[in-house]
């Protein structure tokens, strides 16, 4: 009986993240973390709607990345691979939360009708927008973050969130109106 083929050693973690002399694997992974954590943390906070949940997601994402780095083929940039992994993780989180919170979300969504807002003359400050995002109903915020912040088109947003393209459009519009109302009152 032929001996099982020995798998070639998997370079850690990939050609793009090499372990330098005197470095441990963790050191190399920390470099990867330092480079990409801000983008992923921002995505996680905005999708989850809170910094606390965003931090938990960040930890889970990088743990998962560490486990899966051996299977990274290098056919995309490591940042793209990491972003896709983070996005999928955030989507799993929001889907699971949506199931649990569906009744509440429906109530909140119903509240996002065409709301009048005081006209604003000044540009929206980034910090104000970040805070206002946290106040959006989950469905609206997720669609808005994916479309207006992350730059996906409605078709892609619909696919990612498991809703129709028209629903994505409608959710983004509701989010913009709600943000207009929140930020208009603040100005």
């Amino acid at each position: 009986m032929a001996a099982p083929k020995q798998r070639p050693p998997v370079p850690f973690p990939s050609k793009e993240v090499t372990v330098s002399q005197g470095e441990t694997q963790i050191d190399a992974f920390e470099r990867l973390y330092r480079q990409h954590a801000p983008r992923i943390f921002s995505l996680a906070c905005r999708m989850a709607g809170s910094a606390e949940d965003g931090e938990d997601l960040l930890q889970e994402i990088f743990l998962q990345a560490y486990r899966k780095l051996g299977s990274f083929k290098g056919d995309a940039a490591i940042g793209t691979w990491l972003y896709r992994l983070a996005l999928n993780h955030c989507l799993d989180y929001v889907r699971s939360r949506r199931v649990k919170m569906s009744r509440l979300t429906e109530t909140l969504d119903a509240d996002t009708s065409f709301e009048p807002a005081a006209p604003r003359e000044t540009p929206i400050a980034r910090l104000d927008l970040e805070r206002a995002l946290e106040r959006l109903p989950d469905g609206c915020r997720e669609a808005f973050v994916l479309h207006d912040v992350e730059g996906f088109d409605h078709k892609e947003v619909g696919r990612l969130l498991g809703v129709a393209e028209g629903t994505s459009k409608s959710q983004v519009f509701k989010a913009r109106l709600k943000l207009r109302a929140i930020l208009g009152r603040r100005s």
Binding site: I26, F41, S42, E55, F62, P123
Partner: protein, 242 residues
């Protein structure tokens, strides 16, 4: 007549066909309300593209590093700290995560049985389920308290042992903040004792436990950065304590 909201949205996104776009443009020329709406929506979308990236708190990497080490069955930073000490931190974090998940707002709901479909049969079942759920929640709450207290004790031992390494100003801030959190824990614990089934009281106690663990984790992260001599990390860790 005003264009419907989908048309306005597509107009803002530049997704209308040229003819429709021209129609909306003509309407906007004569309708200040729609003109204002379009201007506001454009401002929201413009602002969304300028959002900056957030730097995660300094403790985030420490948590990840410890979790990886725990999975691999070894403690991180053995050259910088004793294995036993780091394992204590890792154990404390695992306990905190476990309890945090169970007692998050969603976790708490998970423990409540689904409502039965039949209303007639459901009343009796609901009553029994409610009692069972309340008992289960109280039991879980007591377990959660024990886990949190154990986690906090482990972190406190490390923080207390190393606090001499902190500069007096940071140590004073830490002591002051811990005292505030301890007071809040005392108050919410009293609320839970007087109303054991109160979910807001339970959540408040858990949130205060989490706040204390967060502060202690920041302290440990600060001590770590001091050991590494990492100025940037040190500044981040100090700001996290305030």
């Amino acid at each position: 007549m005003h264009p419907d909201e989908n048309v306005i949205n597509d107009y803002v996104d530049g997704a209308l066909a040229p003819r429709e776009r021209a129609d909306v443009g003509r309407h906007l020329d004569s309708c200040p309300a729609c003109r204002q709406l379009v201007a506001d929506l454009r401002e929201v979308t413009r602002a969304a593209t300028t959002l900056e990236q957030h730097e995660p708190p300094s403790r985030a990497w420490s948590r990840i590093e410890r979790a990886i080490a725990l999975e691999a069955g070894r403690a991180p930073g053995v050259a910088r700290a004793s294995r036993a000490r780091w394992l204590a931190v890792a154990a404390a974090l695992v306990l905190a995560t476990f309890v945090g998940l169970r007692f998050s707002p969603f976790g708490a709901r998970r423990t409540t049985p689904d409502a039965p479909a039949s209303i007639a049969a459901g009343n009796a079942v609901n009553a029994v389920n409610a009692v069972n759920a309340a008992d289960a929640l109280e039991t879980e709450m007591r377990q959660a308290e024990q886990h949190y207290e154990k986690a906090i004790k482990g972190l406190e031992e490390i923080a207390n042992a190393e606090q001499g390494a902190l500069d007096p100003g940071t140590a004073a801030t830490l002591t002051k903040n811990l005292a505030v959190i301890d007071q809040a824990i005392g108050e919410s614990r009293a609320a839970v004792r007087s109303q054991p089934a109160s979910e807001p009281a339970q959540q408040s106690l858990i949130e205060n436990f989490k706040a204390k663990i967060g502060l202690l984790q920041d302290t440990v992260a600060l001590i770590n950065e001091m050991r590494k001599g990492n100025e940037t990390g040190l500044a981040r860790a100090v700001s996290g304590l305030k």
